[in-house]
């Protein structure tokens, strides 16, 4: 059975998602040694080719999705630290098409802003499970109240992270992704039923709802966790320094002091860097240390 990693990336007017995907793919290849494919549009691909001509070799396949429905574009507030943000176009809803887009039988899907710096995810390939996703990731800051990531709303079901998930192609998982597509297409209805306040359609919400439905409208059955933990740094935080390919320093928010930060260092831990501006600012250094 073929095995590989899938990354989605669609640039907008300011964020070079394809660049983040390229960096993320370099880290994945180094640490998991598996082929990586990219789902993108032709504009993002051409921009990436110009900037990183070797991206042709980094990616196993580049799959274009130019005929994507415009209804999948949303507006999202992109933070760059606690005090600065911009409203930009966001196209991130093709995730529910992972099943039909992946060229692999066994696929690990990751966000383009996830840096895999250890090899602990390698155990998914030999696992007996056909679907893995985590309910809990860990904040880089011990002071952060993560209640927004425990349930999809105060009155609703458990939150699962679509940042990274693994699936094997089979009938059961096909049903899961078909259900996700149905939820995306009828999101206003599901948003109302599941009492989600946030107007932004997130893959995390779609996956959480789909899992809840497939588990017989129950939170009792826990999804199988990925074999590695993921630490997240919010978009209201900043990537301050890249020591080496495994050690990063972040500025994390100080509790109750907006715009004040404390430093936090991660070492050998997979990190989800939600501040795309910070990721981009450190792109050269992230590539320099992985060479």
């Amino acid at each position: 059975m073929s095995e590989g990693i899938l990354i989605f990336a669609h640039n907008n007017s300011e964020i070079d998602y394809a660049e983040l995907a390229y960096i993320s793919a370099r880290y994945v290849k180094k640490n998991l040694n598996k082929p990586v494919s990219l789902i993108t549009d032709s504009g993002s691909r051409e921009w990436m080719y110009k900037k990183y001509p070797d991206s042709v070799e980094v990616f196993d396949q580049i799959i274009l999705t130019d005929n994507v429905s415009l209804s999948l574009y949303q507006k999202k507030r992109y933070y760059d630290g606690a005090l600065s943000h911009k409203l930009l176009t966001f196209n991130n809803l093709l995730r529910s098409k992972s099943y039909e887009l992946t060229p692999y039988d066994k696929t690990l899907v990751i966000d383009c802003d996830l840096l895999i710096v250890n090899d602990r995810l390698k155990y998914i390939w030999e696992s007996n499970e056909d679907f893995m996703i985590s309910k809990q990731h860990h904040s880089i800051s011990s002071e952060f109240d993560d209640s927004e990531f425990r349930r999809i709303s105060d009155y609703s079901v458990d939150f699962v992270w679509a940042t990274a998930f693994y699936f094997v192609k089979n009938e059961k998982n096909n049903t899961f992704f078909e259900l996700c597509k149905h939820i995306v297409e009828n999101y206003d209805f599901y948003r109302f039923v599941y009492r989600i306040d946030n107007p932004l359609m997130r893959n995390d919400y779609v996956f959480s709802i789909a899992l809840h439905i497939l588990n017989g409208f129950s939170n009792e059955i826990q999804p199988v966790k990925l074999p590695a933990d993921i630490i997240y740094s919010l978009d209201r935080e900043d990537l301050y320094k890249v020591h080496d390919s495994k050690t990063f320093v972040f500025l994390t928010n100080k509790k109750n002091y907006l715009g004040e930060y404390i430093l936090a260092k991660t070492h050998n831990q997979n990190v989800h860097i939600m501040n795309k501006y910070a990721f981009g600012r450190n792109a050269d250094r992230l590539l320099e240390v992985i060479l």
């Binding site: 602990r120 155990y123 696992s127 860990h138 011990s142 074999p227 590695a228 100080k254 404390i262």
Partner: protein
């Protein structure tokens, strides 16, 4: 600002940073305790080690264990399973210990985070 208060705030910043680093270190340690065998996953702890050591002391070489995902898993060679989980356990503990000592000896935010 009163000098004493200024000093207290700087110590508070150091303590927040130290506690955060300790939390991240503990998470890394917990990850190191995950043991994978035949597609199943076990968290190594003293209960697991003691139970397997007890079975091997009774010359039992094969058993079914329930993994972290509550799936049953046949372990056909308990002696080598015990060796492997003990190796990994001590390696994780020693690593945690040395990194913790290193952390404890750093007396400034700069040393805790900015020095590699």
């Amino acid at each position: 600002m009163d000098e004493r208060l200024e000093k207290a705030i700087s110590v508070a910043n150091l303590m927040v940073t130290f506690n955060n680093q300790r939390k991240l270190l503990k998470q890394e340690y917990k990850e190191q305790l995950l043991f994978h065998v035949n597609g199943y996953r076990f968290t190594i702890n003293l209960n697991l080690i003691n139970f397997i050591a007890f079975l091997t002391s009774r010359s039992i070489s094969e058993t079914v264990l329930i993994d972290d995902n509550e799936n049953p898993c046949l372990i056909s060679d308990l002696n080598s399973f015990l060796d492997e989980i003990m190796d990994q356990y001590f390696q994780a503990n020693n690593d945690y210990y040395s990194k913790y000592l290193e952390l404890k000896n750093k007396r400034s935010v700069t040393k805790l985070t900015l020095e590699s």
